[in-house]
Symmetry: C2
Subunit: 491 residues, 2 copies
């Protein structure tokens, strides 16, 4: 077997190889669209399930809106339309017919041209706000708190599995409120939900902040975001929550009567995370051997591999293994006993290491005779021989420890790769040589922001919510600045 | 409030009104596409969750394949392509641009024409089998048992909420096997799964059968189906499971090496159910007052409505109501205590009747003083005053009773509306006047089948799997027949 590409050798190739080797996803026969393979999809299902619980706990309900948006609706909110126009897949016809020159081929039937083109949703504000118009009449109908799990399409020229694909899966929340403050509170609440999810479930620390005006969602008055650091020091925007003001309410004329009967436009938010989180998860924890998964999102949390030379030995080991399987299952721990006779233990060890299974238990007759078992944790690769009696409690504790260790490790990595810089020359040199995140003073203008981007390919990731006020000077222009912003190259 | 349209007055209008009134779905701003509203989507989520469990219990894994299918892949399996060509939404462009004649409008950018058109999936065999080609090399890769939850698009000229929409949600299973028999067994197993689901979860009895050749899925060698009877006597195809032979394996050249290294084409199945099941569920049980839901699929199984005149009384009732809420929740019963002060009890009673909540409990201070509560079951509208102590056990039993009663009632209705007929004249008269299902002898030819359809609009729904062999004569041609088939008008 060829040696795996390491992160140090070629980070980008390491990532692509890993996504393939671990059976997470692959490129499809359709340009820019991926196939999410069963193991990758099982992780996405865990992400979905937990987020769905958190959305419902905060009062949201799921619904489903059409895949297509008629062009006239799409263009109603101008900034939003402008922002997405360049990456829209457009349906123009509704029928194929047999090619008259070759009976085995089909051609688009020119007589089946749509009167109005349909946009495949790149995001659903337009179709949803057009619908909300019929749902909202009075303050009694507010707040309206809805989420949708869906596929969306944004035509991308350069794609990468999970990180940037023309079609991706996501959730998009769309809420309507009676007051501006309530809408802002909702946008902030959802940023909290995303933070709790990424930190406590993905073990991925994030910086919470606001986007600059030029990096805002098209159609938003404010975009909140969470930014994570990948192992190559680049930033990945892991989730966004937008305060949309009254922009969509005005574009679609959605008004409500308040308690005094006065008509007002409603206030809106939208917020989303996508299968991009899969890319973030992979790049935050994995190592040169393969995937590393936090236990809370691992489809298989524990694998038991039997070590044996004969059918009798396998039978003997199986009895003990199945006892452990039952115990772990009753504790809510997902476990696989891999007694596939076609593969040797060494192959299995490598396979589950590649797949990032948090804990591996090896059980052989000699171990068992001594009342012991070998246990290996995936995060540290630490191997230990432990008493088989009570091993289930040890494993349960490991689930907690690995989850925490991954978070702490990622947080330490981030701390080691984030620095304050005050000189633009130093910044330019460092961002090129070292990568990582930089806390810098910025004069708040779009011109300076654009200059930094064009000269260094780095962007202002966010204005952190917890930034401390300090007197500083913009590292580029020397103009006064009160807060440091986070600058980094990004996915 | 206007009186509801009854089933007897106008069945079709009754259905449409009910779907709207109960907050299940509505037509969208996109021709033929629906919006699934939160309450409707909550029912669909219950359907999905249970089916997903059953698919996984039978060894299937979920995955996700692209929304788009390049035209050249789509046309590879000829029959399949031919079958769906007339209802395909086609993406031809990937960009919009500002209309030079009106800056507020967008037009399709003629320079962004795709080299090859993309079909929005009407079903995913083509893209999936193109992918399986890379996944299947040897017998060790088989069986491959995969399911996908997705949206699909089939352009429809005449649409009805849930029953026939241009975009719908569904699951599609796609499996690959080493032998013909194993593939047939899989197709039959999935029909069993669908039967178990529709009968035990939806309380909807189904007839299990095979489609005639002309009613088969395009590209299948055999199509198994389950057919349900709606309250207007029409049939609704609730699920299909296809034995695809080697058709797709040949079209996409998917071969596996058997244990002796010999290369063979694999055998395939596909199977699916869709949001159409929502229409079936609604039309099987609901009455003139509103939706009637089997408890296992009801988002709210029990609603508690407080009866009070003062804040003190509400507080008093709330204490007891919350006790009951806790007890029911701990028993796994979903319950809502509706203490909304803006609505009167009568309004709430009507609302939850419309929404099909299986059990309603009314709690007032006088009842409570006597240690009693009023309980109403939705299916029979039976009202009783019962002891409050232990009411949770009575409710738990009602969940079982209502689930069973709905099934038995639907089964009785079907028995009352299915009959054997041997004369075509009698059949023609009866199907027109009485509707319902007919068990008739048919000579097995496509010509006779087409004649029946053109003269009566009724179709052969299926050849039942449990049909008893008997000597008969085709009701149309008098030619010999060994089995009766089910004929009915259908959705």
């Amino acid at each position: 077997m060829a040696k795996n590409t390491t992160r140090a050798e070629d980070y980008s190739k390491w990532y692509n190889d890993l996504v393939n080797r671990a059976g997470l996803a692959e490129n499809s026969g359709v340009r820019g669209c991926m196939v999410i393979k069963p193991y990758g999809f099982a992780i996405w299902e865990k992400i979905q399930a937990q987020l769905d619980i958190m959305f419902k706990e905060t009062g949201h309900q799921n619904a489903y809106f059409p895949l297509f948006i008629p062009k006239s609706l799409f263009e109603a909110e101008e900034k939003n339309a402008e922002g997405f126009a360049k990456e829209c897949a457009v349906v123009t016809h509704y029928r194929l017919k047999t090619d008259p020159t070759d009976k085995t081929k089909l051609i688009v039937d020119p007589e089946a041209k749509l009167e109005e083109e349909l946009i495949v949703r790149p995001t659903s504000e337009a179709i949803i706000w057009n619908t909300y118009k019929g749902w909202i009449q009075s303050y009694r109908d507010l707040p309206l708190l809805i989420n949708q799990w869906a596929n969306v399409v944004r035509w991308e020229m350069r794609t990468r599995l999970f990180l940037r694909t023309s079609e991706f899966l996501w959730q998009e929340g769309h809420t309507a409120h009676a007051t501006k403050n309530e809408a802002i509170a909702e946008a902030e609440q959802m940023l909290d939900v995303y933070t709790e999810f990424t930190e406590n479930w993905m073990s991925m620390p994030v910086i919470r902040g606001k986007k600059t005006e030029s990096e805002r969602f098209a159609g938003a008055d404010d975009t909140y975001c969470i930014e994570a650091m990948m192992q190559d020091g680049k930033a990945l925007q892991a989730g966004t929550s937008h305060f949309l003001g009254q922009n969509f309410a005005k574009a679609f004329d959605v008004k409500f009567a308040d308690k005094d009967g006065k008509l007002e436009h409603v206030w809106a938010t939208s917020w989303g995370v996508s299968t991009r989180l899969m890319g973030a998860l992979i790049m935050t924890h994995s190592d040169d051997e393969g995937l590393v998964l936090p236990p809370k999102l691992a489809p298989i949390q524990v694998v038991i591999v039997p070590i044996y030379k004969s059918a009798e030995e396998l039978e003997q080991v199986s009895i003990k293994a199945n006892e452990l399987v039952q115990k772990l299952k009753s504790m809510g721990i997902s476990v696989k006993f891999d007694d596939d006779d076609n593969r040797r233990p060494g192959w299995k060890f490598a396979e589950y290491e590649t797949k990032g299974v948090p804990v591996r238990v090896a059980l052989g007759p000699r171990d068992l005779a001594e009342g012991k078992a070998e246990i290996v944790r995936r995060d540290t690769k630490e191997k230990s021989v432990v008493a088989f009696d009570g091993i289930e409690n040890l494993i349960a504790q490991l689930m907690i420890d690995i989850q925490e260790n991954l978070f702490n490790r990622a947080k330490q990595f981030r701390a080691d790769n984030i620095q304050k810089v005050d000189s633009y020359d130093v910044f330019k040199e460092k961002i090129e040589k070292e990568g990582g995140f930089y806390l810098v003073h910025w004069d708040g203008t779009a011109e300076t922001e654009a200059l930094i981007k064009s000269e260094t390919q780095a962007t202002i990731r966010c204005i952190p919510l917890d930034s401390v006020e300090e007197d500083g000077k913009c590292m580029v222009t020397g103009k006064p600045s009160k807060h440091r912003v986070v600058v980094a190259k990004a996915y």
